[in-house]
Amino acid sequence: MALLLTVSLGVSAALMGCGKTQTSTSNNEKKNETTQKEQAKGGPDKDQYLNIILGEEPKTLDPSKSSDLYSSQVLAEVMEGLTRIEQENGKDVIKPAGAKTWEKNNDGTVWTFHLRDYKWSDGKTVTANDYVYGIKRTLAPKTGSPYAFLLYPIKNAKAYNAGKAKADEVGVEAVDDKTLKFTLESPCAYFMDLTYFKVMHPQRKDIIEAAGEKYGTEKDTMVFCGPFVISDWVHQSKVVLEKNKNYWDADSVKLNKVTMKIITQESSRMSELYNGGIDATGVSDPNWVKKLSDTGKFNVLKGYDPSTTYVFFNQKDKYFKNVKIRKAFILADNREARAEVLFRGLAQPAYGWCPPSLQIGGEDFRAKVNYEPLKKLVEENPDPKALLVEGLKEIGADPDPAKMEVTLLEAGTSARSKEFAEFAQENYRKKLGINAKVEYVKWPIFVKRTDEMDYQVASMAWSGDYNDPMTFFDMWTTNAKVVPTGWSNPKYDKLIQKAAGSLDQKVRTEAFKEAENILLYEDGVISPGVYRKRQTFVRKYAKNIMYPLFGTIEVKYAYTEGRK
């Protein structure tokens, strides 16, 4: 069920994105800031506004139709779903929002949410029916929603989306105006992690039907129910938010105005950040890191991005059907250099698949399993070349690696793609003695070629959709067919099924741990490269901006103090 949000143009995007970070400034640091030269007169500034980056023009703000991160960033601030994703002590926390309270039955298949009394920006009350309408609209086949699959845990959702069930059979109903009830297909341990995402937002039937296909293309077609409303939207230029006076928690919202500038060029963003045109954004270029740090006007927030880069192999290929050959390729990667050089230090070598900071039942998955399959593989095989030769002999090929014909398929034709491919080429040459060729193709062609299994070795990145390891593991099950490798292992499928059907986090953790071991150590299906990190520069006067791991940026509680 997992699907990536932002993998398109994968790796290169990591270096430019608007930051997502998890560590927040400690209290001490905060005290220091105020004693600096900008010495605040105390208390927040009179004029409360913030300028931030929106990575690209949102494709549409219709929650049923949008598939990009940028629309999520805007919608998260102008809409109020059942819950909101916030950060506490560097961890993502789900907070009650549209729903005041909720409960589930014993086996976790029925969830009931009790809505608070809150209003749309035009004064009407948000009702449970608005939620039901939104969910069913996303699932309706004729809507053609790209993210409908996230709702598949709901009973009959998948069948309705496929035109095989009626709308009435979908497991969501408004018991009364303030009570929303979900019936799930089976227990879903991460159901709460879907409740803040845009596909679960309430939608206004009357407004949407009046706007028709135009809903979400301009601000005038929409009504809002979140901390802010959109006051201006100039396509490809900016989205301006204004405080929502009708918001139920308006007292917590300090900012009167938030301008999200749409700037796609890295150098332009950096100039804006430097001269004060924007107050916060992700920075990766070492030159700019230095230049900005030297000003002493920024706090630097570092943290993980819920994503892993990886190489995958076509197991229908004459070489890569052999597990030893695949493992040799996995061992050939120099992950430390990859993180340090290729990613300018904004990454961590990946010896597992599921990235750090992803949680299982509120705990860090990586810390909890405390095992990295690739470390074991590396320890047991000090000589990858010997392993490769063994594999070549097994398939009856010429045991001389120099005679292997291997082509790496690289997505993208930019200078950045070239760096990635050449780095891999060099690793395979040095460690395995292979002279691999590279073929550079544009992204849509890359997708087609890999879908048709017309490749040998290719690489991508995967970003999780929700905060549960499932988003990294169910993509490799036999029926998922998300990344075509030709691999299938019933044992793996069973483990994932076990994790999906259970609410016991101990059982699930064990299942994922074993599954990851099969995926990497036993079967050598993919070769994880690095866990990507983010680094965000925030002006010292900008306080309380949150960067949840899942979610983009949260400015509901943000304010400025000491802005000149």
């Binding site: 990536l4 598939s67 998948k158 296909e213 396509h235 490809q236 230029s237 332009s268």
Partner: protein, 311 residues
Amino acid sequence: MARFLLKRFAYMLLTIFVAITITFMLIHAIPGDPLSGMARKLPPQIQKNFYAKYGLDKPVIVQYGRFMKNLVLHGDLGESLAYPGRSVVHTIKTYAPVSGRVGIQAIAMGFVIGIILGIIAAFYRNKWPDYLVMFIAILGISVPSFVVATLLQYVFTVKFMVLPTTGWGGFKYTILPSIAMSFGSIATYARYMRANCLDVIGQDYILTAKAKGVSKLSLVWKHVIRNAILPVITLLGPQIAMIFIGSFVIESIFAIPGLGQYFVSSVSDRDYTMIMGQTVFMSSLFIVSLVAVDILYGLVDPRIRLSGGKK
């Protein structure tokens, strides 16, 4: 004149038709579809629903028929596939003028400065002003506009914070992008104008005029420019057409909401309807501009007759 225009108009329609048809077939022939620009891969059912909604599950020829029908009968170019709900016609109508504004300023600047530099270079042939102008011209042609743009941005918004770095709304936002964009055309016009001027200066009638004692200024104004500018106008026509298309690079550096960004991203997004819309828009503009140049010729140079007439 009327016959000429009518004939050109008929050719124009034919050319546009051919351009549309070829583009349509080509974009459907290249690998990938609008979904592949969105995300890695969506579950099969999701893809099916999406294709059905936008009629992409039908054979290409049926899609082509439907597209032509909407275009000819309703003047409708459909809805963008990458930006659901946005009409292509509306997008072009709204954003072409934005690109146009920057473009016109750039062309005006490029044209005027280029011509003046060209004339100066011609009259001071092989002296230092000539070398200087040609040096600028070579620089202008060989340094890509994005380098100029980034440099200007750095100098005027980071080093000296006098102009806005990015954004749109008011004259000050257009200054840097216009200058960055005009750089290349200043160079082109200067080189053309210089070559043409040199040609004209060598003509007998200039010698005659000089002999008659015509002042230098009026010599340049009445005799040189009028004769030398003709080929430059040939260049100007299509350039004016292109300004509405905008520059992807300049627009993304300065975050200008113009058409240039759509023009490039629609291809990588496989936004079929948007690509077609841009094709229709651009080919029409281009062809109209060629006709306009023909008419301009007649005005500038009486020797050129547009239609048959007396020989």
